[in-house]
Structure formats: structure tokens, C-alpha cells
């Protein structure tokens, strides 16, 4: 599946960034999100201590998984751009698109976590290790997006942001293991802990699995579309530059 926009796409095309493959992926994503709604809201049981508040988990955990995944994809694409022989600009666009998606879903993680915290802990926020490092990760990737927007040539910006993307991803394991490294109000990992012992009711675990699959498909769908949009923006900028040069040459009586 290519990340380039469909070959028939031009600035005047109405087809947008969709292909047959992304349409199939989109339908699969919608179906899985529908299943997530059915399992998360109807079929999975309430928790003995938390009651129905546990259902927030089916959005909170998949969204943080998606954010981690997005930031790792950003780092891998950044490495391809930085260390690859061709310094692929397509890899840079994938890195940027993935970081944008990651930031959005990290925001979802923070908001759902605050709501869940208010219900179970009794407070929206505390500066414990997990919440603090998560906030730091969120801010770091906002910084990454800011770096992408700095002045400079297209290749300069791509190189700079690739370096930041490779450094910022080091925070991901720090956030994940913060509940083991320090004493935290946040619970320890239920699924991806060190002992691999899953302390989760069977139907809750399955609902969580449906959520992770749904959000992973959503990530792929968003990544493909956003990467293609960024490609089209770059093409548009180049087309605009060519047009400006042609106009300038015409003014000076020079034939291209």
C-alpha cells in the first residue's frame, strides 16, 4: 500500500486522498469502532469497584497505545529520512503525519484519564510520576510539531524535526515504566506489565482487544490520508513556485 497520493490526483481533482484500499480500511475501522461500542457499552460487565466508570478504559488504553505507536512510527520514519541515502521526503511526511495523529490521541488519553481519575481517585489531576511524564510527552510532541513549522528550507526543516523525533521517542518507555520506577497514584500496567499476568475479567480483556484493533486501524487510515495530504501540500507549493518563476521569466522576457 503506497503512501503517495493516487496518481490521478491533481490540484483540480475531486478524488481527494482516497483509494480503494483506504476505503476498505475505512469501512473496517468503522465496523471495529461499532463493535467497540457494542462490547464497551453493552456486553462487557461493570467493575466490582469502579462500576460503569471502567468503560472509559476501552477508549483511554487504546488511545494511549495509538499515541505510543504513532510516536514510534514518527521515530522510524525520521530515522529513514535522516540516515537513508536518499533522505526521503516521503519518510519526513509520514513522520509529521504520524506525530500529528499521536498528539491528538495523547490529548484524548489525557482528557479520558482526567475524567476517569475524577470518578475513581476523586481528583482530575495530580502531579505523580505517570501523569507528569505523560504531560511531558504530550508537550514534547507539540514542540516537535512546532519545530516542523520553523523557518528554513524544506530539507532543513525535515532534518531538524527528524532529530527531535528521534530524541522525543525516548520518553515513551519512560512514561510506560514510570509506574514501576516511582510510586504513583496511577495504577500499574494491567496488560503489558513485567510479570505478563493479566488481571482483567475475560470479557473486559476482549473489549479492550477490540478497542486496540479498532484504534490501530483508525491510525493506519488517518496516517495514509494525512501523509497524502502533506504530499499534496508539498506538490502544491512546488507548483506555486514554478508558476511564480514562470511569471517572473515572462515579465523579464525570458523563455524557460
Amino acid at each position: 500500500m503506497t503512501l503517495d497520493p493516487p496518481s490521478t490526483v491533481s490540484t483540480t481533482s475531486r478524488r481527494g486522498t482516497a483509494t480503494a484500499a483506504t476505503r476498505v480500511l475505512g469501512v473496517l475501522t468503522i465496523v471495529m469502532i461499532g463493535w467497540l461500542g457494542v462490547f464497551g457499552l453493552l456486553l462487557s460487565p461493570a467493575d466490582r469497584d469502579q462500576g460503569d466508570a471502567v468503560r472509559i478504559m476501552y477508549v483511554h488504553v487504546p488511545s494511549v497505545w495509538l499515541a505510543y505507536l504513532a510516536f514510534i512510527v514518527t521515530a522510524l520514519a525520521s530515522a529513514v529520512h535522516l540516515f537513508g541515502k536518499s533522505h526521503s521526503m516521503q519518510a519526513d511526511r509520514v513522520a509529521g503525519a504520524s506525530a500529528e495523529i499521536g498528539v491528538v490521541f495523547m490529548a484524548v488519553t489525557l482528557v479520558t484519564g482526567m475524567l476517569w481519575g475524577r470518578i475513581t481517585w476523586g481528583v482530575y489531576w495530580q502531579w505523580d510520576a505517570r501523569l507528569t511524564t505523560t504531560a511531558l510527552l504530550f508537550i514534547s510532541y507539540i514542540g516537535y510539531l512546532a519545530v516542523r513549522g520553523l523557518e528554513g528550507s524544506r530539507s532543513q526543516r525535515a532534518r531538524r524535526s527528524a532529530i527531535v523525533g528521534l530524541l522525543a521517542v525516548l520518553e515513551v518507555p519512560l512514561v510506560h515504566w514510570s509506574v514501576r520506577l516511582w510510586r504513583s497514584l496511577h495504577q500499574e500496567a494491567t496488560v503489558l506489565g513485567t510479570d505478563l499476568d493479566v488481571s482483567l475479567d475475560g470479557l473486559m480483556l476482549f473489549s479492550l482487544f477490540v478497542g486496540v484493533v479498532a484504534f490501530t486501524l483508525l491510525f493506519l487510515w488517518l496516517l495514509l490520508h494525512r501523509s497524502r495530504v502533506l504530499t499534496m501540500i508539498d506538490l502544491s507549493a512546488e507548483t506555486g513556485l514554478d508558476a511564480a518563476l514562470a511569471q517572473r521569466r515572462a515579465e523579464g522576457g525570458v523563455t524557460a
Binding site: 460487565p45 461493570a46 467493575d47 466490582r48 469497584d49 469502579q50 462500576g51 466508570a53 471502567v54 478504559m57 535522516l82 475524577r118 470518578i119 475513581t120 481517585w121 476523586g122 481528583v123 495530580q126 502531579w127 505523580d128 510520576a129 507528569t132 532529530i163 528521534l166 530524541l167 525516548l170 519512560l174 520506577l181 516511582w182 510510586r183 504513583s184 497514584l185 495504577q187 500499574e188 500496567a189 494491567t190 506489565g193 488481571s199 482483567l200 475479567d201 470479557l203 473486559m204
Partner: protein, 162 residues
């Protein structure tokens, strides 16, 4: 006027690669060093709470200062008085009596771990809490799953932390 030397200059690719990689190595070292510093700082200064059995024993858990104490709410110890809630929190065989001004929020109940913010009353030895946070564990159990062995395990979990 002499003829300019138009011989192509030798390739300098290896030197350029060194230039690009060196700042990365330096930055990576800075980040690792920064991570070690932050880790140390968090370990010593930002541990979120003291366990009940560490009060007065561990550095930073002195009774003469404001504390955040973590322990499990003792079974049968919760008493709701006028404008206050009294309960014990227990951990590792130690116990602290807590007086919280108000009704704890969240999913507060017996046998669940909590973190209480407050100070000790030197005269009564009571811990005067002004904030209670329920520290939910990583275990999730269906509300209608009342099989005998799980009920027994729940009871044991409350006892073992006391």
C-alpha cells in the same frame, strides 16, 4: 593570467557524515545524562507517597511535616461522624488512624488502597487528612462475578495488606 584549475575536487562524503552524526551523538549523550538526573531527582524527591509502615522511619516521611500516606482502608474501621470521616489505613502490619474533614470522593470504601494528604496531630497521634485519593489497583473484576473463590480472594487481599 594562468588557467584556472578545473579538476573536480575529491569527494568529501565521509567528512560530511561525521559532521551529521557527531551532533546526534552529543545530543543523545545529553539526553541520557538528563534522563539519569531526572530519574534520580524523581526517585528521591517526587515519590508520590509514604507507605504507612514508613511513617517516621524513612527519610522524607517524618511525622512533623505534611505527608501523603498510602495504605489500605481497614475493614470495619470507617465511621462517618458529623462533618468528618474516621478510618484506619494499614500497610505491612502498621496502622494509622485518619480523620478526614468531609466525605471522601472517588470510589472510597473499605479494603481499597488510598493516599491521604495531611498532617499528624501531635497531641492525639491522629492523621488529619484534607484530601483522600483512591488508589485503584490494576485488577479488574466483573461486578456480577460472585463466585466463592473470588470472594475469598478479595477478603484475603484486604487482610494481607493490613
Amino acid at each position: 593570467m594562468s588557467t584556472p584549475d578545473l579538476t573536480p575536487r575529491p569527494e568529501q562524503t565521509p567528512k560530511r557524515q561525521r559532521r551529521r552524526i557527531m551532533p546526534m551523538v552529543v545530543l543523545a549523550l545529553v539526553v541520557v545524562a538528563g534522563g539519569v538526573v531526572i530519574t534520580q531527582a524523581l526517585s528521591t524527591a517526587v515519590d508520590y507517597y509514604c507507605n504507612v509502615d514508613e511513617v517516621g522511619e524513612r527519610s522524607g516521611c517524618d511525622t512533623g511535616r505534611r505527608l501523603r500516606i498510602q495504605g489500605t482502608v481497614g475493614e470495619g474501621t470507617v465511621v462517618v461522624a458529623t462533618g468528618a470521616t474516621l478510618f484506619d489505613i494499614r500497610f505491612n502490619g502498621a496502622s494509622v488512624k485518619v480523620e478526614y474533614a468531609g466525605e471522601p470522593g472517588g470510589i472510597f470504601k473499605e479494603c481499597l488502597p488510598v493516599v491521604v494528604h495531611g498532617v499528624f496531630d501531635e497531641s492525639s497521634g491522629m492523621f488529619l487528612g484534607d484530601r483522600v485519593e483512591v488508589k485503584h489497583s490494576e485488577d479488574y473484576v466483573a461486578v456480577n462475578d460472585n463466585r466463592l473463590e473470588e470472594a475469598e480472594a478479595d477478603s484475603a487481599a484486604c487482610d494481607s495488606s493490613a
